[in-house]
Symmetry: C2
Subunit: 199 residues, 2 copies
């Protein structure tokens, strides 16, 4: 199968995905010139390479603030590997979106690893008592409970939450997309969310 | 002693201090029309009344953010009693100044009451060892140590720090001045300071 890929097609794909020239050309060849398919190919490849990058040291980055009103504010530190990437529009956009996400969806943790065993045990007990009261049979209770705990993580953990602008996407995925675009490991180091009258 | 106070003098004093019309008029009468003396009278009265207000509930206020650069940011919650005062220029200015202060002087605590006994004991031990090594006589060592601990509080506690714009003033005094101007109890509820590469 021989297909001619124009520079304009490569540019269009690059603009959409932020991937490198050769990656875009290869993806377009593999997709026989179909832009949507090529994007999907890059996305899958990108996310694969994003997972590989997760072990690398992310010690540069950005501090971003978002004031929703004078009553609610968020401060977040997002790390990447170099100042070069920290200054890209893709990375700055990610930091802004994450700050807004925390303001809107009230994450309490970055990931489930931060939750204390005591809080996990408490949550599990509350849900178990509830399902027992509702008469859920013992053989399905554990399975239902696991599902409920996942839901709980989606409520309280930033990276497990649905993205405010696109419910089909987790914050984890949003971050991986930016990893794929920038080619660097990215992680949320810490955040603070202050709201008058809440603590 | 009879002295005539003009409306212009009252206005000038009000603009400088934020105090009420009658308070300004009385202060000017007591100061025989001397603006500086009148200001001093108000300041002393104001600070006295500020101390009285310290017990009242401060549950409204502002969340303020300050980004020094993309690498350093501060989020701070400053409380007062009503949204009316939270919206005044005096209060907003205080919140901004405090955020900037935290960015510049790296406070770790709001006040010394927050410091753990362990950290206090550690600091005291380090200073004591140092003074013993320097051969300070036992009869003055405790006194020197107390002085050094005060200095330590000035380093790490926001309200004990010198104000970035006026080293003759403590942050505690800056807050009291705003209490005097607004007539409400004011306190710093919490702050976060994120700097890339520091934790």
């Amino acid at each position: 199968m021989s297909v001619t890929i124009s520079a304009a097609q490569v540019k269009e794909l690059r603009d959409k995905t932020g991937a490198g020239v050769m990656d875009c050309r290869h993806a377009l060849v593999d997709a026989a010139g179909d832009l949507c398919k090529a994007e999907e190919i890059l996305r899958v490849k990108g996310i694969k390479s994003a997972d590989k990058k997760a072990g690398r040291v992310a010690s540069d980055g950005l501090v971003e603030a978002y004031l929703h009103s004078s009553k609610l504010g968020v401060l977040i530190e997002v790390n990447c590997e170099t100042d070069f990437v920290a200054k890209t529009e893709e990375f700055k956009t990610l930091a802004r979106e994450l700050a807004m996400q925390v303001a809107a969806y009230k994450a309490r943790y970055i990931s489930r690893e931060e939750i204390s065993q005591e809080e996990l045990d408490n949550a599990r007990k509350i849900f178990r008592d509830q399902y027992t009261k509702e008469g859920k049979p013992a053989n399905v209770l554990e399975k239902i409970l696991e599902g409920r705990m996942e839901k709980y993580f989606e409520e309280v953990c930033l990276i497990d939450q649905e993205y405010i602008r696109d419910g089909s996407k987790k914050i984890r995925d949003l971050i991986k997309e930016t990893v794929a675009k920038t080619g660097e490991n990215i992680l949320v180091k810490r955040f603070a969310r202050f709201s008058i009258g809440e603590n």
